[in-house]
């Protein structure tokens, strides 16, 4: 239906753009993302402040440079996203492989917990926890990671179920290989490629979740910038200075679309990544 080559090219282009924003822009001599310039607040793109400074993407309400804030916010989001993906991938793969390899009551317990977690909307869980414990960057990455291991767990378990019956695993077992050895040396390498595809999709989901929490004021806290928070700050000036909302939204889109298209391009036509699974009767 879609030419996968085009999808892949667009995905790579978008991600390259994002890398330029978060890695190259901070190296260039633009303004400091925290410095306020009250002689030049709410400047449009390419505007000049009273003291004659030039701002490529304009300034926010406090006269801070939009471009360098977008770049710093991107770094923050990507760090949180990578942390969360790492946490959820480790937990999900470990639990999924254990459930699929050992089967029995252990499997029932693990998959039961997964079902339970799926049956509570994730946003609400995160809101409740963030509201009560109070968010920090580390806490955010940890929370997002702990609440998104289920997709990895389910896929890993499914693959482990068939892998454990394959000849190379059986022969290792008859030669006395321990369960730990089998899981580590035979199962893990075989599920990793699929896990990374799930990971690139989940990475996008986590970025959206973090941005949404920050938009609600429950994610990244000032003075650290975040795209979601920048949108919520700019919302009041939507009619006056739409770029305050539009620019962070574009940045979010570039990263999320890049990740989603990438995972889509590596999935075959009839599989649908991210489709919620109904509990098996």
């Amino acid at each position: 239906m879609l030419r996968l080559g085009i999808l892949r090219t667009i995905a790579v282009t978008l991600l390259a753009l994002m890398l330029v924003l978060i890695l190259v822009i901070p190296l260039l001599p633009f303004y400091d993302p925290y410095t306020q310039n009250l002689g030049g607040s709410l400047l449009p793109m390419g505007g000049r402040s009273f003291d004659g400074k030039f701002y490529l993407l304009g300034t926010d309400t406090l006269g801070r440079d939009m471009l360098s804030r977008l770049a710093l916010a991107g770094q923050v989001s990507v760090m949180i996203g990578l942390g969360a993906v790492f946490v959820s991938l480790v937990i999900g793969v470990a639990l999924g492989l254990i459930a699929g390899y050992f089967r029995g009551p252990l499997e029932s317990v693990i998959m039961g917990i997964a079902d339970l977690q799926l049956s509570i909307p994730r946003v609400l869980l995160l809101i409740a926890v963030a509201a009560i414990i109070g968010p920090s960057v580390t806490m955010l990455a940890l929370l997002l990671g702990l609440t998104s291991w289920v997709s990895y767990g389910r896929v890993a378990r499914g693959m482990a179920l068939s892998l454990r019956e394959r000849e190379f695993v059986l022969s290792a077992r008859t030669q006395g290989a321990s369960a730990t050895w089998n899981i580590r040396k035979h199962l893990l390498p075989n599920v990793m490629p699929q896990m990374l595809i799930v990971g690139s999709y989940e990475f996008g989901q986590i970025i959206v979740m973090e941005a949404s929490l920050s938009y609600l004021g429950l994610g990244v806290q000032p003075p650290l910038p975040s795209w979601g928070m920048m949108v919520s700050e700019g919302q009041t000036y939507l009619a006056l200075a739409p770029s305050l909302v539009v620019l962070p939204s574009i940045a979010l889109f570039v990263l999320v679309a890049g990740l989603q298209f990438l995972s889509q391009a590596f999935t075959s036509e009839n599989e649908v990544v991210g489709a919620p699974e109904r509990s098996k009767p």
Binding site: S119, Y215, V245, E269, R278, P281
Partner: protein, 305 residues
């Protein structure tokens, strides 16, 4: 069937119990509730008296069971800001949230249905690709960004639709479009995949062999079968939509449960937050249960053993 039902209902009860338990410990983690109610200058005796009045001097397990018992009766305590029961504040907002979620659900399914059929019937490849790209692009824009872009275009620039609040049908258009189209790409891909599966079935070949036309086969024979997976996933997503209402309601100042929760967070009104989270989780669980039961009724092939 009976066994499956019993298992699913057990699971739902466990989930609700899990939510209440999590709520209890989260509130305890937040600190001593008596300190939240008293001013900073309260003396040691004041605190002790307040703790006794709130029953905080009892053993934790007794407090926990008491909390569960009142929660199951819908009693989550009194709002810390307004002197009303937390649950009644939340219940007031439920109709607005349900209105938004159900409208968005219908908008999403309706669009997926029309676009999916269009993609099947058209011979123009470019049209199919345009539809898919639009859906994929939409999926990559978070709800709050999309909502604000809609406000910018239709309220600020064109001045066609109101941007805030609830009232007439025109208030519902932008929020429902924002929330309803979020999963469009997923629906379209599912719909396409299931239509493609049906295409290969024997009964389709038979229908063509009898001399029926493309449109007749598609609408009369394939559609009823292809709709089932779409309806199931959409049903499960109705629950996810409830989660999405939190952000949508905040963007459009829609007076629903989600916005109440977000407002209560900034006021640190814990009983209201917990009651709101509990109620949305409850709706979520109940909807999932209904979808599962409906699925068994709609498709007799599903073995509910």
């Amino acid at each position: 069937m009976v066994h499956f039902l019993a298992k699913r209902i057990m699971q739902s009860v466990l989930t609700v119990l899990g939510v209440v338990t999590a709520a209890f410990f989260l509130v305890r983690l937040a600190g001593d509730p008596s300190l939240l109610l008293l001013s900073a200058e309260a003396s040691q005796e004041d605190i002790a008296r307040m703790r006794e009045a709130l029953g905080l001097n009892r053993p934790l397990i007794v407090q926990y069971l008491d909390f569960i018992w009142s929660a199951l009766q819908g009693d989550f305590g009194v709002s810390l800001r307004q002197n009303v029961s937390a649950m009644s504040l939340v219940l007031e907002r439920v109709p607005a949230t349900l209105e938004l979620a159900l409208t968005s659900f219908v908008v999403g399914i309706g669009l997926a249905f029309i676009l999916g059929i269009a993609m099947r019937m058209t011979k123009a490849r470019w049209l199919r690709e345009v539809i898919m790209w639009v859906a994929l692009t939409r999926q990559a824009i978070p709800i709050f960004s999309f909502g604000l872009l809609m406000i910018l275009i239709f309220s600020v620039w064109l001045r066609w639709l109101p941007s805030l609040g609830r009232g007439t049908w025109s208030h519902l258009v932008l929020p429902a479009l924002t929330l309803g189209t979020y999963e469009l790409a997923l629906y379209l891909r599912l719909f396409n995949a299931s239509l493609a599966t049906e295409q290969r079935q024997d009964y389709v070949r038979t229908a063509y062999a009898k001399g029926q036309g493309r449109i007749q086969v598609l609408l009369g024979h394939m559609l009823p079968n292809a709709l089932l997976p779409l309806v199931t996933v959409a049903g499960i997503n109705l629950g996810l939509l409830l989660g999405g209402t939190v952000v949508t309601e905040t963007v459009f100042s829609w007076p629903g449960v989600g916005r109440l929760i977000v407002q209560s967070v900034s006021q640190r009104d814990f009983p209201v937050i917990i009651a709101g989270v509990f109620l949305i989780s409850l709706m979520f669980v109940v909807i999932n249960l209904i979808v599962d039961i409906l699925y068994g009724i709609l498709d007799p092939r599903v073995r509910l053993a």
